[in-house]
């Protein structure tokens, strides 16, 4: 079993820094997903682990070996590429068996192994076909079989599903998860699709502009985002983020004179520039006469079937609420919303980092993470 240790890993192209120093340890047998918007350096990081990019600074160790100077073939990684990168002039069997052929395995042994792996991903009827004669999903399977056949120490996936249609993507997701359960090989998976990331990952590494924003379990990242970026990036609809500051009177001031009464949070943060965040599903609709309710006006609603999203305006700040009501709601109608202080996230506007609040908030998030 093999852990991957990245310490102070940096990447510069000429003078352009792309990855700014990453320190992460990927445990043996873990399925880690690197998630981030395009251009955040996630693929570069993966390719540095694979040995396809030089490491400008820092070290990467696979197991106990620092692999900075090792060629890809010496690192024991197998990779599934975004465009599959199948060899177009070789048959499916030749594609899968190429690594074994290069390693000098005798023909009979090789063919038996190729057949076994091809069977496990349902490719055995297509062994003599060329990649050009296969569907997208079948090509994807060939790419996976080609990675599996070498029995690598580490699997690397570089956005492997981005060329598949939505339905196939969900199916392949389940297959990759099943594969990982079966083989237990340390896996690193790069994607920009947060649903894919949340469903596949044991742990997530969230990157933005060459910096790791947060490392954690999917539920941790969702319920306790470490930065404004993560809070905004993870979750759909996105977290409500309202910019403002706390007054000494226990009110949070925002927008065009809006006030939210938050008596227990306020005292420690008086007059700091912050953003407060709350998940749309934790914003409740309450009757008009409720104490400390936030008065808002409906902008528009989005029907989702099981629920609806209310896009409301509260004194110039946008609040989204998940609502299970069935009453008619039209643009301009007044509504009242309430939030729990324990559900609140506070982020420093200066650093973009999370500000930890009291024990009540910690307990609330912990119970959600462990749920």
């Amino acid at each position: 079993m093999t852990a991957i240790t990245l310490s102070g890993v940096k990447k510069r192209y000429l003078k352009n820094p792309v990855v700014h120093g990453v320190d992460v340890t990927i445990e043996s047998g873990e399925f880690v997903v690197i998630l981030g918007p395009s251009g955040c350096g996630k693929s570069t990081l993966l390719r540095m682990i694979a040995g396809l990019e030089d490491i400008t600074e820092g070290t990467i160790a696979i197991g106990d070996t620092v692999v900075n100077k090792l060629e890809p073939r010496e690192r024991g990684c197998a990779m599934v590429f975004q465009n599959y990168a199948l060899y177009p002039h070789m048959s499916v069997a030749q594609n899968i068996g190429y690594a074994l052929k290069v390693s000098g395995m005798p023909r009979a042994e090789r063919e038996a192994k190729v057949l076994k792996v091809a069977k496990s991903v349902g490719l055995d009827p297509y062994l003599t076909r060329k990649p050009g004669e296969l569907s997208g999903g079948q090509r994807q399977r060939v790419a996976m079989a080609r990675a599996m056949v070498r029995e690598p120490k580490v699997f690397l996936f570089d956005e492997p599903f981005s060329n598949l249609d939505a339905k196939l993507r969900v199916a392949m997701r389940a297959e990759v998860r099943g594969l990982h359960r079966g083989l237990g090989v340390t896996s690193v998976f790069v994607t920009h699709d947060q649903t894919e990331a949340m469903t596949l990952a044991d742990r997530l590494i969230i990157m933005n502009q060459g910096v790791v924003e947060q490392v954690g379990k999917p539920s941790e990242v969702y319920h306790r985002p470490a930065s404004l970026f993560v809070a905004d990036f993870i979750g759909s609809p996105a977290m409500n983020l309202v910019r403002g500051f706390f007054g000494e009177d226990g009110h949070f001031r925002h927008g065009k004179g809006g006030m939210i009464h938050l008596p227990t949070v306020a005292p420690s943060l008086v007059s700091q520039e912050v953003s407060i965040g709350i998940r749309p599903e934790l914003v409740r609709r309450v009757p008009a006469n409720t104490k400390d309710a936030i008065a808002a006006v409906v902008d528009y609603t989005e029907e989702l079937g099981a629920a609806r999203l209310i896009y409301a305006d509260a004194d110039g700040s946008r609040l989204i609420a998940v609502d299970h009501g069935t009453d008619a709601l039209g643009t301009g109608m007044p509504i009242h919303l309430a939030i729990d202080e324990a559900d609140l996230h506070v982020f420093s506007q200066d650093t973009g980092r999370r500000i930890e609040l009291g024990a009540a908030q910690r307990a609330a998030t912990n119970s959600r993470i462990n749920a």
Partner: protein
């Protein structure tokens, strides 16, 4: 919908076509028809009358052992020059494609030889290979008499072939580099992940995928070495020593212009033409079939 140009004036389209038509007629069809006419007749050395000879010119040509020696020499010349030129060009293109240091510089530097006229290159190579003073001639300082293209036929032929190959490297290099850069980079990376070293990847992945380009260049190089070798040989060896560098196109010239045997030379040029047409046909017939990109 296809739109077809329509001219009210019936003469205008012909006028527009005229420059190209005249060029082709004057510089291809007219000489070819003359050559055909001469090849089947016997022309008097000072002109003034032809007699119909049927296939006699060809029969005497094919019965001539000296001609067959020339054909063999041409074939060797063509194969050797093509293999050397394409081999070196491919190696250089592989290195440039791998983006080693200085790639941008080499990309243009390697193409320059193609811009040099064959006779000019021939003169330069004569100096380089000159036994008494040239760069290669320096070996004579160590082992006297080991290198002399002026008297040794093998040396002379080798010298011309090397020069011919050198001239073609630029052309081959451009095509190879373009073909290699058309291949997705991830293919080579997948090969690297599968454990193949660069040389193995070249043989197993890159070469099969650029096969159409290899085939195209093979034919173009063969054609060029049958026809374009004239300028080099005329400047460097004039077919000598003792005919050791006399290839088909040079013998044709010697027989026609020095020996004044128009009919024999015409028959030789027809043979050479058929050879080139055959190669071109192969090129058109098969090159399309061998393509297998994604």
């Amino acid at each position: 919908m296809e739109r077809r140009a329509f001219y009210r004036n019936p003469i205008l389209p012909w006028l527009l076509l005229a420059p190209q038509l005249i060029l082709v007629l004057v510089f291809f069809y007219w000489p070819t028809s003359q050559a055909l006419f001469w090849a089947f007749t016997l022309e008097q050395p000072w002109g003034g009358g032809n007699t119909w000879a049927g296939f006699n010119n060809f029969l005497s040509l094919f019965g001539d052992t000296r001609y067959w020696a020339t054909v063999g020499r041409s074939a060797f010349y063509a194969i050797a020059a093509t293999v050397i030129s394409m081999g070196i060009a491919l190696t250089l293109a592989m290195f440039v494609d791998r983006a080693l240091k200085g790639t941008r510089l080499f990309q243009s530097v390697f193409v320059w030889p193609y811009a040099i006229a064959a006779p000019a290159a021939g003169v330069a190579f004569r100096f380089i290979f000159a036994p008494e003073a040239g760069l290669i001639g320096a070996v004579n300082e160590i082992w006297p008499g080991i290198w002399n293209p002026a008297t040794n036929g093998f040396h002379a032929l080798g010298m011309v072939i090397v020069c011919h190959a050198w001239l073609g490297i630029g052309y081959n290099f451009i095509f190879f580099l373009a073909a290699l850069q058309m291949l997705p980079k991830s293919l080579s990376e997948a090969g690297a992940m599968d454990g193949a070293r660069p040389y193995r990847r070249m043989l197993d992945l890159q070469l099969p995928l650029i096969a159409p380009t290899v085939f195209f260049l093979l034919i173009m190089n063969l054609i060029s070495s049958f026809t374009d070798s004239f300028g080099l040989i005329d400047v460097m060896t004039e077919g000598g020593p003792i005919n050791a560098t006399e290839v088909m196109v040079y013998k044709l010239y010697v027989d026609g212009f020095k020996g004044l045997d128009y009919s024999g030379a015409a028959a030789q040029s027809i043979v050479l033409m058929i050879l080139v047409i055959a190669l071109t046909f192969i090129q058109f017939r098969w090159v399309e079939k061998r393509v297998h990109y994604n």
